[in-house]
């Protein structure tokens, strides 16, 4: 399967202004040199707690935010990617590299050039209450991407909207209603319909089940799986709920303070986690079985602020298996085989 998204050393920093003249005094390193590659038709899960940068990563990949460094290759053929890798290692300043980047690297695109990509990449937000314009009718909300992208003629917009609503489980009787007249789960479906109506290739699902009830969560997950098969979508599924990610993703990456600490196939990660943070995270999931008494790993302290991440391995102040080297040197992502990567000095 070919790669749909490849990020190389992707960086997104937010400036912190202070002082009278509002100069930049520090930077929030939200996403710090992240390399991932997502294949066509895959559901790639990203887990982590608040402040780890997963939402920022998603938004930077689809260029709602401008990256401060690194590249994003969208739907580049495999040979191009190989060439880019080779050139980056051997001759980073070559003209050919610049040419290839101009053609395929989303991080160099601006404004007008990004327009056609907007219909290929979409996002479903976490909170359906705030992500739908409260003053617009459902038919306008779902139809707007079509109208803006000028993908179909005016007369056809309504039909496409009805078709999309049916696909997500709503009826055309609900066309002329406002978002506040629906429940949370239904609003999320409207958001999904809006995202999918332009037939994107890549959809970012930013914690889509966090704001809805438990029983609705299952319905939404079923819907996502069905739509992925039906429309051949590729997902980036962001969540802090590990059980939900496990059910729907093929591969999972664990993020902490802007860096990926572990990446593996889903079953592999959940059965055989290596990184101490991943271990702690997995042991902290409350299991609905009162007879199961697990040894829970308690981490000390709280997540530090991403403005001043700790030196060396970012997790070392809280790590139960910390060693001397951890505070000095940052571990790189090592390949443990079978597509399982860990960034930890223990390995």
């Amino acid at each position: 399967m070919s790669t749909l998204i490849r990020t190389v050393k992707l960086k997104k920093y937010f400036p912190v202004t202070g002082g009278v003249l509002k100069r930049k005094i520090a930077e929030v390193k939200a996403v710090d040199e992240v390399n991932i590659s997502i294949k066509h038709g895959e559901c790639f899960g990203v887990v982590g707690e608040s402040g780890c940068g997963k939402t920022t990563l998603g938004k930077t990949i689809i260029r709602l935010l401008k990256p401060n460094g690194g590249s994003i290759f969208f739907d580049a053929p495999d040979d191009v990617l190989e060439e880019v890798d080779k050139l980056a290692d051997s001759d980073p300043k070559s003209e050919r590299l610049k040419e290839l980047r101009k053609q395929y690297d989303l991080s160099t695109f601006k404004g007008r050039k990004l327009r056609p990509f907007r219909s290929k990449m979409q996002i479903v937000y976490q909170d359906p209450t705030t992500s739908l314009d409260p003053r617009m009718l459902v038919k306008d909300i779902v139809g707007e991407p079509l109208v803006v992208q000028k993908l179909v003629k005016r007369g056809e917009v309504r039909d496409r909207v009805i078709e999309m609503l049916r696909k997500v489980g709503l009826t055309d009787k609900q066309l002329y209603r406002f978002p506040h007249e629906f429940s949370g789960g239904q609003r999320q479906r409207i958001a999904v319909a809006r995202a999918l109506i332009v037939n994107p290739k890549f959809v970012i699902l930013d914690e889509p089940t966090s704001s809805v009830d438990v029983s609705v969560r299952a319905q939404l997950l079923n819907l996502f799986t069905a739509l992925q098969k039906d429309l051949g979508l590729t997902y980036l599924f962001i969540s802090h709920d590990l059980s939900v990610v496990e059910c729907i993703s093929h591969r999972v990456a664990v993020m902490y303070l802007g860096k990926i600490v572990e990446l593996a196939q889903t079953e592999e990660l959940y059965e055989n986690p290596h990184h101490p943070y991943a271990l702690a995270l997995l042991s902290a999931i409350p299991i609905p079985d009162p007879t199961l008494k697990r040894q829970k790993i308690m981490l000390s302290g709280e997540v530090p602020s991403p403005i001043n991440p700790p030196h060396g391995c970012r997790f070392h102040p809280r790590c139960p298996k910390v060693m001397d080297i951890c505070s000095k040197e940052e571990p790189a992502l090592e390949d443990l085989g079978n597509g399982h990567f860990v960034a930890c000095h223990l390995y």
């Binding site: 709602l64 937000y125 705030t130 314009d133 409260p134 617009m136 991407p145 992208q149």
Partner: protein, 314 residues
């Protein structure tokens, strides 16, 4: 249709509070008076209907009588005629000033709030300058400064010159003094709405900045402005009346409530024996102004209670 459902809900809420019903009724009453002005007080033919007819030129006002229902004021201007046609003038001034200020405020506030940065800073400092002056004083100064004729363009003989009547000058002065407050309010609302998720979602769908502003940001920030405008119409009429009282504004004999009160200046304390001898001269136009402003204020309060999104039953 859903927008009708929305309107019916809004009217239902209006009906619930007696204060808003009264406000609404007052405004409807004045609208009827303004519309029926030619019938209620027929103008004399061959003259500008806005000039109050004078039967004679006696200096002292006459109390209400059979021929002059409200009596006459100084120089025998008919009060009935003046009050009825003055309603039209009041609506003209109020609505024109508010709509124009709103338009300017929307334009500048939108650009300022949406784009931020240096543009925002410059605009806001400019509005600060205008806020530094007391409104009435600045309006009067602008009135004095505005020329009588403005030449829009002149290409050697072929041109377009606009003549400003006194009332036009008042309108322009009030607009120039009034737009900063609208800009401020609109900018504040846009700053609040700009960071919402659905704006970002619209951008993710590929909407241009213009479309986002017009279709998403403005409809969601419009309610405080609606409230502010309805409260403001009353205020503008009061300011215009104050300016007329001070002698600036409509020419003598124009059907304008402020004018009528200005004409009553000499008669407020009446005779030596009877201080309230000429009560009709200032009280009747005063009541008209008072109830007009009250109506708009009540309506504005009612709008605020109804349209406040936190109280609305969403």
């Amino acid at each position: 249709m859903p927008s009708w459902k929305e309107m019916r809900f809004t009217f239902g809420r209006i009906k619930q509070s007696p204060v808003s019903v009264i406000g609404f009724a007052i405004i409807v009453f004045y609208v009827l008076i303004a519309l029926l002005a030619p019938i209620l007080a027929s103008p004399s033919p061959n003259s500008d209907p806005y000039m109050i007819p004078q039967e004679s030129f006696i200096f002292m006002p006459n109390p209400p009588s059979a021929t002059h229902i409200f009596g006459t004021t100084e120089n025998q201007y008919d009060l009935w005629y003046g009050c009825i046609w003055g309603t039209r003038t009041a609506f003209r001034i109020g609505i024109m000033v508010v709509v124009s200020s709103l338009a300017i405020g929307l334009l500048i506030g939108c650009i300022s709030g949406y784009y931020g940065g240096i543009v925002d800073e410059l605009m806001m400092r400019f509005t600060d300058i205008i806020f530094a002056f007391p409104g009435l004083v600045l309006a009067m100064a602008l009135y004095m400064a505005l020329p009588d004729k403005i030449t829009v363009f002149n290409f050697g003989g072929f041109g377009w010159t606009v003549t400003l009547m006194a009332l036009d000058k008042v309108l322009i002065a009030l607009i120039l003094v009034g737009w900063p407050s609208y800009t401020r309010v609109i900018r504040g609302e846009i700053l609040r709405v700009r960071t919402e998720d659905y704006i970002e979602a619209a951008k993710a769908s590929g909407c241009s900045d213009f479309r986002v502003m017009v279709k998403h940001v403005i409809p969601n920030s419009i309610y405080p402005i609606v409230i502010m405008s309805s409260l403001d119409i009353g205020g503008i009429v009061l300011t215009a009346a104050a300016m007329s009282f001070l002698g600036i504004g409509a020419p003598k004999g124009y059907a304008d409530w402020g004018q009528l009160i200005s004409l009553s200046r000499n008669w407020i304390f009446g005779d030596m024996n009877n201080p309230l001898a000429f009560w009709h001269v200032f009280l009747i136009p005063g009541i008209f102004i008072f109830i007009f402003v009250l109506g708009w204020n009540l309506l504005g309060d009612a709008f605020r209670d109804i349209l406040d999104p936190t109280i609305r039953r969403r």
